[in-house]
């Protein structure tokens, strides 16, 4: 199995950070997400979130 094939299986996540309470929320990447664009609503304080990072992360195998 090539390196790329292994990498392709790494899911991509979007990390949103609340502008008010600074809570960080990780969710699967959606097309249209880009770093420093407006995110959604904070689950904790209902404030506005900002996309702080988009990254690929290895998910531990069960």
């Amino acid at each position: 199995m090539g390196t790329t094939e292994k990498r392709m299986k790494m899911p991509v996540f979007t990390l949103e950070e609340c502008q008010q309470c600074h809570m960080k929320m990780k969710r699967p990447f959606k097309v249209g997400d880009y770093v420093f664009s407006a995110g959604g609503q904070c689950q904790n304080c209902k404030g506005n979130t900002l996309i702080a990072a988009v990254f690929a992360e290895k998910v531990p195998q069960r």
């Binding site: 790329t4 990498r7 392709m8 990390l15 880009y34 420093f36 988009v54 290895k58």
Partner: protein, 375 residues
Amino acid sequence: MLDLSVLQVLPGDNPLSNPLINVALFYVPLILFMLYGQKFQTWMILNEISRSVSRLKVMKEKSRKEAVEYITTAAGPSPDVTPRIDQFLEYFTIMPVDIDPSGVMKKLEHIVVLRDERVRAEIRKIAPSADPVKASTMENMIEAATALNYIYKIVRHFYLLGKRTTSIYVLVQLQMIMPMILQEADALIGAIDAFKQIQPIGDGIGPMIVGKSMMVAEKKAIAKDTVYSEADYKGRKLYLLKAEGPGGNVGQPGTAIQKMIEEMNVKLDMVIMIDAALKLEGEKTGEIAEGIGAAIGGIGVDRFKIEDVATKHSIPLYAIVIKQSIIDAISVMKKEIADSAEKVQMLVNRIIEEKTKEGEKVLVVGVGNTLGVGQ
């Protein structure tokens, strides 16, 4: 128990004592290997290279298909773009003659700018309604497909040359560099997925760190696809520079720094450059290193301009690099790389506090492809 009596054509207890069998078992293979050993080795190498060439062909076809699909979708209802893209995959650039190196940088810049403009003009013709982000994505995808097409053609050329001439020396050289070639091709294929979805790549860590500080400030254009902002930090004036995102641009940091110092007359006391750097085997992805000099890759035009203007005005150049492999640099940013952003920011702050005084001016440059990273 195995009955060896059938081998005993001549008298004797041990079949190996039979001279005919002895010759057949030891001398015949020895002579065969002496006579045909190299041919056998050539055949083995040819088989191995043939498999790699087939793999490269699959990658080349995949990148072409992805580029055609993306551009066709983005271009909307327009005539078939496939022949134009196919023609573009064969596009080449002739680098300037460097036998007389005087003035070669200007010639190099002229050629590179011309190439970029030509690619953009072609994309504008194919997809006139595409927004700048999609246009830069198309540009990146075509570049990756062109690179894969070129790699495949060169490897195939040497494979066929070695096969035709049965020259083991040509084939052995190709076999030796094949793992590195495949690694690069793997990286390009990984990049296409990131480009298509406008996801940040490992090389975008520099723009990501600087972009964060630029978010609340006003963004001003300074060079082609390059923006800067002004900010204050502990009494120092900061100038923050990066390529304009979220499209896949690298901007022109060299031209921008030159313009800032020589045309805008900004008296800089320090320049800090943040970039991704290729890690050595054994080094960890996302490791941070600090040094001196212009941290910028590419063909050398930007680095030349930055070094030139910094030397002329005696501006110290500080460099911070985030280590990653070639695959990491052009594939979707790994978590380890994204996690290094905070540590790098702390390092930048520490350098500014230690090496400059209040009232001084510092330029922080985020070098790299800003795909999927705004500001």
